[in-house]
Subunit: 423 residues, 2 copies
């Protein structure tokens, strides 16, 4: 048999020049220029090559990659015994893109991580409904499903920076209680139809199967009915135990603790159930001594992840990149300042920009070697603008603990060191 | 201090009835109905609860979840020594949503998996360019980046079904050589500008640092210049060694082997370089004895992942779900037949539907218990329609090995057994 090449693809000439016009191309001091084509071609010689490692059933990480979360016992309480940890923060400084790997998704728990057997697990649905149902995981996985990429954020994210600027904090320390996954599960609305929820049932109690019995009241607003799901999958695979296996509630945009993990019960009623998690634990103390309850949404926020705390940079080209998000909708704009907020420049947003998901932003920057302060500020499609720290504290006061969304400043010294700063 | 609840969110009445109108809600035989509210409420009692496992730096999978790839030495060659495996297939039957976890992304390698040190790794760019550059990974990670969720598919995906129907095959066996990740890296176009590619350089050689020195010629079409990237991240984290760490080429929509892993060299020229990977290995033998070269794109395709091979179902409600994709663009339609292709019904597509990414589809189905054949057929936005097996073989012949995209049939027996079938 004779092999004859058929017609090859025909690239067209003359379309290469400055097609994209990256501003940075001329300023990036990248790489080593090799003098002369002969030398370059000599470098192309294939080095001695040896067979690699065997193929496998699971692709492990490279031994050269060191990436993990930081377990903490509370603000500033690192290096604790594992049994004392109450959260574990995602390494935002080492992540790229917008998805968080499932094993690096931040963790927050009030009584450790229960190891539940999916064959034994049940979901009870009761209260103001036509039918009172007990569902197995097989029942739930057989139902119509939806998938959606959204962030979940602990309402305590940012709490390190309420009061003092610890200069040794990394962005993992300051903002690591947020992650974005593709969640898959049953739309809540499907279950509402299935059990026949009363028209006067305006609230839903969701209760977890953990040792602390975390339970929250969820208002059945249009937003919740349209967007909530009972998730059994994250990033394509079954939930991991730390993230609620076998079943969790996902409430896009709502504070993390309401996305009940290890979900065992939904009860419908005509008023909030006033669990201790909403009358006490997750209330917000205001300067006037009153407490705010049911601050449901995570507010518009952003942070520069590189350069960020404890990194160091050199004069010349530096790419500024970070993440922006809003529990109210889509991020429409991220501005970056390199002079502590005196002037602002629009950053580029990586698409597709998804509502209630983390959005990656970046901006080219040529650092002149002088002390600088870099800051980001995000805006969402509801018109919310991330406040600076001063106006945020004027509004909220310093007695609160949750929903910190003030702009994050990184201070850059003349030596190129990058440090956490509050102004 | 007195705590007073501020105004609560106010859900509105009367918006719960039949808001979504899922067709399936009335047909799903889900769960156990509990008689009477008193009994249901008694089930709500919180069982004895104990503290769970400690929090951690990495969230491991549940001990109740068993999920991994299947290493193979070629079509039908399973249960081989790890050293003989040439690919490792993703467990499509156990995945949900559309993303593939990084450690479950399919693997294909011609000389095992090299363990490269990123500090030592270099990328040489040379040939018809103004500058000949050697780049470190630090150089590359400092450049402007992009992220995009796309599938990569081995051109051999589906090769199990060219000639005979092995009834014992699962969908992992028949279609497991495809995966979808969020890839992050430097746009190729940025590098083209950086090195100043000649206007007559219409082809690019990309060479891997593996023992087999896999190398392919890539035409610099508008599509490639607009979409290709040099990726260092997958699903938010650094590449894993099996998937090209520290650097791989990502060519959205192109056959898998062109997405060169362990990328060490790009060379620009005015014609294809005619490596053995494109003159021999990845050519397609036609019935007339000629060989087709440079079949670049993966064609429009789909497969039902549940119910699928070696599963069993029961009469009544069954959700049919699967994945559809096209290397030419977006999936616009997936039809499902439950009578072997005699009649077709539109399936629901999970959004957002992304170009050149796997799209999850689903359809409600009430199985009447009679022998049935379920099939899916996808259409993309270029008007390509996935062919049935008969017309596919009439066009391509049975001498080929690659680019199998015929419709996949699962035969369901009266006993509910689901088996691979060719008609």
């Amino acid at each position: 048999m004779t092999k004859q090449p058929p017609a090859l693809p025909e690239p067209q000439r003359g379309h290469l020049q400055s097609r994209r016009g990256f501003l940075a191309a001329s300023t990036v001091a990248a790489g080593t220029i090799v003098s002369g084509r002969a030398l370059a071609d000599s470098l192309a010689d294939v080095p001695a090559r040896e067979p690699g490692e065997d193929l496998s059933g699971l692709s492990e990480r490279s031994p050269f990659v060191h990436i993990s979360r930081i377990p903490e016992a509370g603000p500033g309480q690192r290096n604790v015994d594992p049994g004392d940890a109450i959260n574990s923060k995602a390494p935002l400084d080492k992540l790229v893109g917008s998805i968080t790997p499932a094993d690096l998704h931040y963790e927050r728990s009030h009584a450790g991580v229960p190891m539940l057997d999916p064959a034994q697990h049940r979901l009870l649905i009761h209260g103001m409904t036509e039918k009172q149902l007990v569902l197995t995981m097989d029942d739930i996985r057989a139902m119509p499903s939806m998938s959606r990429t959204v962030f979940i954020e602990c309402t305590g994210n940012g709490w390190e920076n309420w009061h003092k600027a610890d200069e040794t904090l990394t962005v993992q320390n300051t903002h690591g209680l947020i992650s974005t996954n593709e969640w898959t599960g049953v739309p809540l609305s499907f279950l509402l139809d299935l059990v026949g929820v009363d028209r006067d049932a305006l609230w839903m109690l969701a209760e977890g199967g953990d040792g602390a019995a975390v339970a929250r009241s969820v208002p059945l607003t249009d937003e919740v009915i349209d967007e909530a799901m009972l998730a059994y999958g994250q990033n394509g695979e079954p939930l991991r135990p730390a993230h609620g296996f076998p079943l969790r509630l996902v409430l896009p945009g709502f504070e993390g603790n309401m996305n009940i993990k290890w979900l065992r019960r939904l009860k419908f009623g005509d008023r909030p159930f006033m669990t201790r998690w909403e009358t006490d634990r997750y209330t917000q103390l205001r300067p006037d001594g009153k407490a705010e309850q049911f601050h449901l949404h995570q507010d518009v926020n952003s942070v520069i992840t590189s350069p960020s705390g404890m990194m160091s940079i050199r004069p010349g080209y530096n790419r500024i990149t970070g993440l922006a998000w809003s529990g109210h909708g889509k991020v429409t704009r991220v501005e970056v300042s390199t002079d502590g907020g005196a002037s602002w420049h629009d950053a580029q947003l990586n698409g597709p920009v998804l509502a209630k998901a983390q959005t990656r932003f970046q901006m080219d920057w040529a650092w002149n070697g002088n002390p600088s302060r870099i800051v980001s500020r995000s805006t969402d499609d509801k018109g919310n603008v991330q406040p600076d720290r001063k106006s945020f504290l004027e509004r909220v006061g310093a007695t609160a603990l949750f929903h910190y969304n003030a702009q994050q400043t990184w201070r850059i010294g003349a030596d190129g060191s990058v440090r956490n700063a509050l102004d």
